[in-house]
Subunit: 337 residues, 2 copies
DNA sequence: CTGTTAGCGCTTTCAC
DNA sequence: GTGAAAGCGCTAACAG
């Protein structure tokens, strides 16, 4: 076994003394099954020569691939990783290869990747993550999404409505509203909200849902502060809030990483959680379940959402929207004395 | 724009009134550059028809792709996500598409994925994560690695030596030894080690390095308990240790997630950290930097390691081994009163 | 059941 | 500079 030697089907066929058609049939399960004896010969030849089918050639010949794409903003963000994981598991079960692209939150990259997937003739793709509401990039994305769909590939979006494709929606509003009610039930009254960028639908929905939940009890938040949808965003937002000196007794961050960033800032400032200030997040990120005090949050079936997204994407058909329920998880960060 | 309509280069060429050769040359920068006027015509035609090159066909024709693969055990594990992120960034810069596979810690899957990447004629691949030392699966992996390399593709391994490919090694032993020394310097004396499976080289090296570091001060651990290389593994291991009642005053878990799992168990048992027991980990996982008390650990330049791995993989050449230094990060979890 | 043969869409000599 | 044509490796009719 030395130096590159591209063994082709023809090589195998010749060595086995059969036609390429026969070789193809036995090696890649086809319609008609050759006689046992030939099967043996072909398999043996393939084995001896160390034959590996050229997926590119196969794809070209039957104009269809077993590749699916996943687009996430940032694979290091545990939220995306969890959903992507679900997609990958489902893909693995179906023997599909996954092309994963981290767009680093750049709309242009996202569009370019989608185009690449189209060029690769991917069977389907799953786009994860809330889109910005910025009209222009939204239009450009929509256009590329149209082309993608038009190429015959399947597509499912997670946390992003408004596109003519299958959509998986976490019930952000209802979940946040339920959380608000539970917190009020616990006795908290003066709430502050750490929102995300206003262009992110997910962040907006969670904030609005929370406000709606408070309204159910005739309450209004004492403050709303927006920041990036990240750990640092939460850290900075709570500091601004503290500096402004609003008298909140409980703060809701629109996602867990922001909440954790906020908790860190509070610790630095010497504010006790939940003694002086209760803190709640959203997502129930697995990696953060061990933080202390345990973070009250709203659990989303992230992996399942990913699985389902892949199923819908490869299934195709008319655009569907499926909503996944969120579930409030009360922990120590909002425990009342 | 209706129903699937595969626009080919031929369509574009005809519409522009040129040959496919010319169309190819202008659309995919080639050797000879056609006259400006033709370029315009071809580009216009391509635009109007909404032409997208078929990557499969291109790959077949020039027998080379711009696809690279990444193999990780579990993309939800922040350690792997961080390295994979580095690989993806480097890939993105080079305009390479990434095929990411999560092997779910299954050796067979890993081998199968490598074979798939070979079938896809991937340009290169990066395998991340310590290999088990189980002789049989090691041999089978080695065999597939051989085939992969033999196909002309590049390969780099992260945290796994012993294969005839480029290798990126975090300096686990030295890092753990340095940590041990620092802890001793802080005044800790009775150490317990929460090791990983003995078949994982990474886990072994960290444990051994730590022991060596202790030995430098003439110390020996009071106990060594092994568990899975996961959050739950750390949680269970510390509980067994506690039940056995070894009188340790500081415990070193061979990775951060184990350490966090252990801290959680300690909290449940009412053991104060670092008051009653100091805790240290390894990796300095970003997502865990906000846990409280802040976890003393050993930082590895995860993203950089990933970047470098990709560079080596696509560069090819003689197998190299590059070692990345680890750096001790002291935090509150091992602070002495 | 098995072999022939025409493509799949694009790149790349090799002539013009 | 530009085009004709021969593949790249495999699949899928279509004949035997």
């Amino acid at each position: 076994m030395n130096l590159r030697a591209p063994v082709t089907l023809l090589d195998v066929a010749q060595r086995a003394g059969v036609s390429v058609a026969t070789a193809s049939r036995v090696l890649n399960g086809g319609d008609r099954v050759p006689r046992p004896e030939l099967q043996e010969r072909v398999k043996a030849a393939a084995e001896e020569l160390g034959y590996t089918p050229n997926a590119q050639a196969q794809a070209l010949a039957k104009s269809s691939t077993n590749v699916v794409g996943i687009l996430v903003h940032d694979i290091e963000d545990p939220y995306f990783a969890a959903i992507a994981n679900g997609v990958m598991r489902a893909a693995d079960e179906r023997n599909l290869l996954v092309m994963l692209a981290s767009t680093f939150r750049d709309a242009e990259r996202e569009i370019a990747y989608l185009a690449s997937l189209r060029a690769q003739r991917a069977r389907a793709a799953v786009m994860i993550g809330s889109r910005r509401t910025d009209a222009e990039s939204l239009a450009r994305t929509a256009s590329e999404v149209g082309s993608f769909l038009n190429s015959g590939a399947g597509l499912a979006l997670v946390s992003q409505s408004g596109m003519p494709a299958h959509t998986i929606e976490p019930d952000n509003r209802a979940g946040a509203a339920a959380l608000a009610r539970e917190l009020v039930g616990l006795g908290w009254r003066r709430f502050a909200v750490l929102g995300g960028p206003d262009t992110l639908a997910t962040a907006r929905d969670r904030r609005d849902g929370f406000l709606a939940g408070l309204a159910d009890s005739g309450l209004e938040p004492v403050a709303i502060e927006s920041g990036d949808f990240t750990r640092d965003g939460g850290h900075a937002a709570i500091e601004r809030l503290l500096d402004r000196g609003v008298g909140a007794d409980c703060v809701f961050a629109v996602n867990d990483v922001m909440a954790v960033g906020a908790m860190s800032a509070l610790r630095q400032r010497g504010v006790d959680v939940p003694g002086q200030l209760g803190v709640a997040g959203f997502d129930d990120i697995a990696t953060l379940r061990d933080v202390w005090p345990g973070l009250t949050t709203v659990r989303l079936p992230l992996e399942q959402m990913g699985r389902r997204a892949l199923e819908l994407a490869i299934h195709g058909g008319e655009p569907t929207t499926e909503t996944f329920r969120a579930e409030v998880v009360l922990r120590e960060s909002t425990a009342r004395a």
